[in-house]
């Protein structure tokens, strides 16, 4: 399969690789996908509780080049945005930016899910949403 130049660039030079302290009250962690599906993304954001601005974002991804590129791009895009702005990012924006072929659209969906999961985790910590435990139970059902 031929990759777009942007996918290759993100694969060769992934932005914001790494981890943030997931115990930090201001850090939201999203872990989506499954190894048996061939994709797992971990996206973390450090969010300023006063301004709701995403001050830092890090990712790690197990997956194909398109999955790595989608999550790398997601960290670039969410940095400096407010939580509400980040939630407005759609997978189709990622598809367009990276010129993903139809068989790779699921990678962009996963990246969008990872953004939402990380923000949801942060909101739980901030007491804006139901507890993590209750949410995890429903997610697994």
């Amino acid at each position: 399969m031929a990759y777009s130049d942007k996918v290759i660039d993100h694969y060769n030079n992934p932005r914001n690789v790494g981890s943030l302290d997931k115990k930090d009250q201001n850090v939201g962690t999203g872990l989506v996908g499954a190894p048996e599906c061939g994709d797992v993304m971990k996206l973390q954001m450090k969010i300023n509780p006063e301004t709701r601005v995403i001050e830092d974002a890090k990712f790690k991804t197990f997956g194909c080049g398109s999955a790595i590129a989608s999550s790398s791009l997601a960290t670039e895009w969410v940095r400096g945005k407010t939580v509400e702005e980040a939630l407005a990012i759609k997978n189709t924006d990622i598809v367009r930016e990276l010129s993903l072929p139809p068989v790779k659209i699921h990678c962009s969906v996963l990246a969008e899910d990872a953004i939402k999961a990380a923000i949801s985790d942060w909101k739980k910590k901030a007491g804006e949403e139901q507890t993590a435990e209750a949410s995890a139970t429903s997610a697994h059902s």
Partner: protein, 407 residues
Amino acid sequence: MAIKLPIYFDNHATTQVDPRVIDAMLPYFNEKFGNAASRNHAFGWVAEEGVEEARAQVAQLINATPKEIVITSGATESDNLAIKGVAAMYREKGNHIITQVTEHKAVLDTCKRLEKEGYEVTYLPVEKDGRINLDDLRRAITPKTILITIMYANNEIGVIQPIAEIGKIAKEKGIFFHVDGVQAIGKIPVDVQKDGIDLLSISAHKLYGPKGVGALYVRRKNPRVQLTAIIDGGGHERGMRSGTLNVPGIVGLGKACDLCRQEMAEETVKLSGLRDRLKNGIMGKLDETYINGSIEHRLPHNINISFAYVEGESLLMGINDIAVSSGSACTSATLEPSYVLKALGVGEDLAHTSIRFGLGRFNTVEEVDYVTGRVVETVERLRELSPLYEMAKEEGIDVSKMNWKTA
């Protein structure tokens, strides 16, 4: 010696045509262009001579006689002809066929079609090492069984089936035994007498010959196997496969078989040496790498390794100056990981991380060392990027036991 990029380590997919094979073929495109079926002039006789010499060379490689070699367009056609040909010819005798789950699609899909036509097919499972259990085979045989079809060696994991033992069982029970020999022939000794094989599929392009030509060995005595043809026409190849013969291709097939026969012993030593160097080089430097399939019963030029926590397609992308294959779903049209690895009981998570290395006649030790270095550095880089590796190494989590949220 300087290495030339990209490097080809995908010799189970196809092989480079040996220059000596090309030399043998070339005259048959122009000066000896005749139709081998033209019986009344020299152009035909010369072409026929070329075909008959090739037929003898193919036969010699597998210890058959030239009359038992039916030329086809390749192993897919050979598999189809063998299985459908026996099924149709012996329909009165029975309707049951036995095969196994890691066969090539040319066998599996042919069997599936026959199922739709009222035949019954048993798909034997394989053990963890990729080999069938002979007791399973014995138990599967019924009075209605007319054919056992089992590959000599697998195209993904290089695992060699206990062919001689299967041949013995088939003979005892009076059942025909077809073998897809594509990956094994020319690489390891294949002997239709010793192995008790009644039908054997051969492909030229897997043994340094041209694409588009192959053969089917069809036993003529003890027992004599009859086939119903699947292509009708001028009655070529003793009526078993009509169609004007691809003379240059056939000459190439013959020459390729002849070279393999002469050089096999030496080549096996060289290739198993390169393979072991590659395997030890990679596995000595990386933790959590796993060989898929038996190492003992394996083709000398194959190794299939899973690199835990690194997805196969991303690994291929990182070593894009090296041609190999992956069992990862992402590289297949179906988005399913390799059915062969699944059949071995390899978890889907590890199946996604597998790479098949297929060495060949033209590979060098310098290439092996280059590939080793590239694979190691790429796996290390991608593990730095892998949340699974981090969870396993830093947090001690068994990622295979986690309750993943799957869509």
